[in-house]
Amino acid sequence: MIEIDDLTVQFGGVRGLSALTASLPEPVTGLVGPNGAGKTTLINVLSGFVRPTTGSVRVDGRDLKDVPIYKRAAFGIRRTFQNEQVVENLTAGENVAAVLDNVPTDGQPRRQLIETALEFAGLGTARDVPGHSLNAYQRRMLEIARATVGRPRLVMMDEPGAGLAQHEGEHLRSVIKQIDGYCGAQVLLVDHDVDLISATCTATLVLDFGSAIAYGPTQKVLADPKVRAAYLGVLEETT
């Protein structure tokens, strides 16, 4: 459960987010909007990379202002990156272990947690493969394994579907849908791929110029004329 209250982020004279207020309770929530709408800024505020100018964000009732940046992973806020950040000189297993070092294990054996996370992401056989030998798709999935190990609350994905082949995209969809059931974490998904959003997200928040212009069940939101005007002009022609 993410509660955003009057959140403003100012970069010099530019407003990344402008008095954004939203409550996101759904297990898989989409976040869409045109370029520069503030999607990545919102994720960065949740990760702690960007400090809000005013306003607050709460995750599961806890004000994130009180959680220092390096403790957010342990608190349960995880993410994947638009440009993947797999550590090339560690194996896939060590990549997951590097995150597991800093998050709660709930007393379970580390080795088992690492293997479960890798298997969940479809990398069960790649545990000892070094990062630099993984292909682009495996790297994406490894980031998901890193983000889901050790009791996450919120997994944020910044354009996970970019540049994937069709069958890879389908596997990604099924994994995203399973995250909530697998580890109980809420998923916040940023992507330009409307198909991916409508296939996975039960609710969607649309941003434009740093403010929310629509929120609700994904199909309804994507059909909203205001949203189409701002963002989905292409869809309007085809329907």
């Binding site: 940046i69 390096y70 992973a73 990156f81 950040q85 194996t91 060590e94 272990a97 070092d101």
Partner: protein
């Protein structure tokens, strides 16, 4: 192939050949016993310095290979470690091991202070700042000199200079060389323990990118500071070993330029491999000694180092160690062996 490329990443390779490793240990033990007995006094003293400087180079390669950070102050930290080891050895008459550890801890604390700018800077700026620190250490050391058995805080003697007490187990040069080699081995073990464990993974994340490390929950400040403290500790141990080997230290032997030389030769040797620091130690001390043996001016070594550095930068990014590994791989392929390359 996987093992081979992993080696590039950590200064210590991930050898997984139990039989080969056992044979290596056995050979090392035999060598440790036989080698010192076969050497002249001159070469014994040279190799004692080599083992100390191998540890010093290990400290440089730890920072460079694990975090991509350049510290040009490590040779100065040798001086700091040596100073404290000498002071406590002369002042309190403690066993050598305790003096060595004190030198290590003192240099770790100074190394930690030197590392503080690294929390905000990297690359060239960090290199310059650490070089200035090395300069500061040089000024202090040449102003106050090393303790040599006198009284007072500085421990300067007005009469005859007193030699540092050697370890109980290793009074003569032969035994001290074995002792120094074992200490160097322990330092490698300490680094291996870090690299293969939690700190190594955290350092790898930081080196990948700081956002990656933050998203993975790594406490970047703590792990950077820890790396600098550990590197300082190693440099301090190297300084203490050097002090024990010679019995005293020369105040003019720790200029800032030596720190640059140490860094350059670590690159030439190969910062990413465990062999690299050994090559660097040999180049720094054994190579000039070899030239002297052939009655060639040892200063020519500096020119050779310059050429070696150019060579490393242009053709061998992983230094001599990387080339050795490639050579071993080529030989194995030529012999038709299908075993994995890597020692």
């Amino acid at each position: 192939m996987a093992d081979q490329s992993l080696e590039v990443a950590s200064p210590i390779p991930t050898a997984r050949l139990p039989l080969g490793v056992a044979a290596l240990y056995a050979a090392a033990l035999v060598g440790l016993y036989l080698l010192p007995a076969a050497l002249s006094d001159y070469w014994l003293r040279t190799l004692i310095s080599v083992s100390a400087l191998t540890v010093a180079s290990l400290s440089v390669s730890l920072l460079f290979a694990q975090l991509g950070m350049v510290s040009l102050a490590q040779f100065g930290l040798l001086g700091v470690g040596g100073w404290f080891a000498l002071r406590i050895s002369h002042g309190l008459g403690v066993p050598f091991e305790l003096a060595l550890l004190t030198g290590g801890v003192a240099a770790a604390l100074v190394g930690l202070v030197i590392g503080l700018p690294a929390l905000r800077m990297r690359g060239l700026y960090l290199a310059i700042i650490t070089l200035m620190m090395a300069g500061a250490i040089q000024v202090l050391i040449s102003a106050f000199g090393f303790p040599d058995g006198g009284s007072g805080i500085l421990g300067k003697s007005t009469g005859t200079r007193v030699m540092m007490a050697r370890p109980f187990l290793a009074q003569n040069d032969e035994a001290y060389l074995r002792y120094a080699l074992v200490i160097a081995g322990l330092c490698y073990g300490l680094v291996l323990l870090h690299v293969r464990g939690r700190p190594g993974r955290a350092w790898a994340m930081i080196r990948r990118s700081e956002v990656c490390a933050f998203a993975g929950g790594v406490n970047i400040v703590a792990y950077k500071v820890w790396a600098f403290a550990l590197a300082g500790f190693l440099a301090g141990i190297a300084g203490g070993l050097l002090a024990g080997g010679v019995g005293q230290l020369d105040a003019s032997a720790f200029p800032a330029s030596q720190s640059i030389m140490l860094f350059a030769l670590t690159i030439v040797g190969g910062a990413y491999s465990w062999i690299g620091p050994i090559v660097a130690g040999l180049l720094l001390r054994a190579f000039p000694a070899l030239l002297n043996d052939f009655r060639v001016d040892g200063n020519i070594a500096t020119m050779v180092f310059g050429i070696g550095l150019l060579h490393a930068l242009i053709t061998a990014p992983h230094g001599v160690a990387g080339q050795l590994r490639d050579l071993v791989g080529t030989v194995r392929r030529l012999l038709g062996g299908k075993r994995k390359a890597g020692p």
